[in-house]
Subunit: 250 residues, 2 copies
């Protein structure tokens, strides 16, 4: 069996997220599996690096699948992109080691989050940025980003009620850049808990808008109470940009 | 009666174009008139600078309407943007001279057209760029742009069968710029015939891809035969950027 790695770009606005729900065709995984079945005549299950939420996007989601098909990769990519809807694109297809596993081997991820920070919203960016017109204190915003970086128990910044596994994670970088009305945040870390990027994002904005004090961040790390953190920023501003793997597994 | 000028941005992918069709709610004009009725309790007809096609977009469509309402413009803009769908935005609202007419007074327009020129399409730009993966000869492309500029009878570059009015127009500028996979074309002229930007665009691409010779452009000007020009590029790449008015009418 060949093991094939996919790098996938998708606009999530029309979908219920990455993970297949029963036979639903409204998920990214479901759509890709459907086309793979058409092409290979096999029942293929693809393994994603992780889920993405309903309405969230990806520029570099990674997945893998096993197949007996001997079809050249070029041809397979062409057929996938021909039969997939135009908002799901296979950017790369490569044959990898049989032990490569898109979820288990992932050792880090990069997410982007976009905020439309202006009074007048945009007709074009409405599904790809979070419209947040309040004035933001850029010093506080910067400080909130810095305080969220590090190795902490992030359970208070997640939607997990409790967890048997460790909820300690390392966030290595939160970088913000403004271009006109758009604020672009880049989050890099070894792994993120359920809704963690969106809750960190909502907290950063609430701090910068003066809705909650900067110190809240330390309190949430200490007391692990989700309710004290900021709002969950909506999925539509979130992009999974890249999944990192150890060099020998690429 | 006050005469109010609107500057409108819209993402046309979900709409049947600018112009209201009966009672249809699937047009930009219909949507805006619907909300104006809600706000003012008057039956308001808005006058656009011109139609835009089904699926085409605008960053600066202009329209005007008369109203007896005394509502402050700030408040009216806020309410419009609150009740309009998020892909239609009122960017500006101003009170203008009672004789201002968005169509009759328009003395020029600027359009943009975006082409996605790469083998792998984009999941995000599929409704805002025309996917044209063929290799393009940039010298031929430049030459085609230059040859389409000037004062000519453009009927062969339009979808008009015939016309009682003059079909001579002046196109003052066609500028092209590449940013990564995206080619951006800017068209400036005093007025454009039905489908004229899209047929010029299709012709430019067909010349640059080597499908038709550069000389075709002169032949179409001379013989006025639409069938000899290039394909009509799809509406989804087209943006109405700006409508020009004489200074005293602003």
């Amino acid at each position: 069996m060949r093991n094939i790695k996919l790098t996938i770009e998708y606009d999530g606005r029309r979908y219920l997220g990455w993970q297949r729900l029963g036979d639903s065709d409204k998920t990214i995984q479901g759509k890709i599996e459907g086309v793979l079945k058409q092409i290979t005549e096999e029942d293929i299950e693809i393994i994603g690096s992780g889920r993405t939420d309903s309405g969230a996007h990806a520029r570099g989601q990674v997945a893998n699948f096993k197949t007996a098909s001997t079809m050249p990769l070029d041809e397979m990519q062409l057929l996938l992109n021909r039969y997939l809807p135009r908002d799901i694109i296979i950017k790369e297809l490569e044959e990898v080691h049989e032990r490569f596993h898109a979820r288990y081997n992932a050792e880090g991820k990069k997410y982007s989050y976009y905020v439309w920070n202006a009074v007048i919203p945009s007709a074009f960016e409405g599904y790809h940025t979070y419209y947040y017109p309040q004035e933001l204190d850029m010093d506080k915003l910067q400080a909130a980003c810095e305080r969220l970086v590090g190795t902490h128990d992030y359970i208070g910044f997640s939607s997990l009620k409790k967890s048997k596994k460790s909820t300690v994670r390392t966030v290595s970088e939160i970088v913000v850049e403004r271009k006109g009305s758009i604020l672009h945040f880049a989050f890099v870390g070894e792994g993120f808990l359920y809704n963690m990027v969106r809750i960190m994002m909502g907290t950063i904005l609430d701090v910068a808008a003066g809705k909650i004090p900067l110190e809240t961040i330390d309190e949430v790390f200490a007391n692990k109470v989700r309710a004290n953190a900021g709002a969950t920023a909506p999925a539509l501003g979130l992009f999974l940009d890249e999944v990192y793997y150890p060099a020998e597994q690429k």
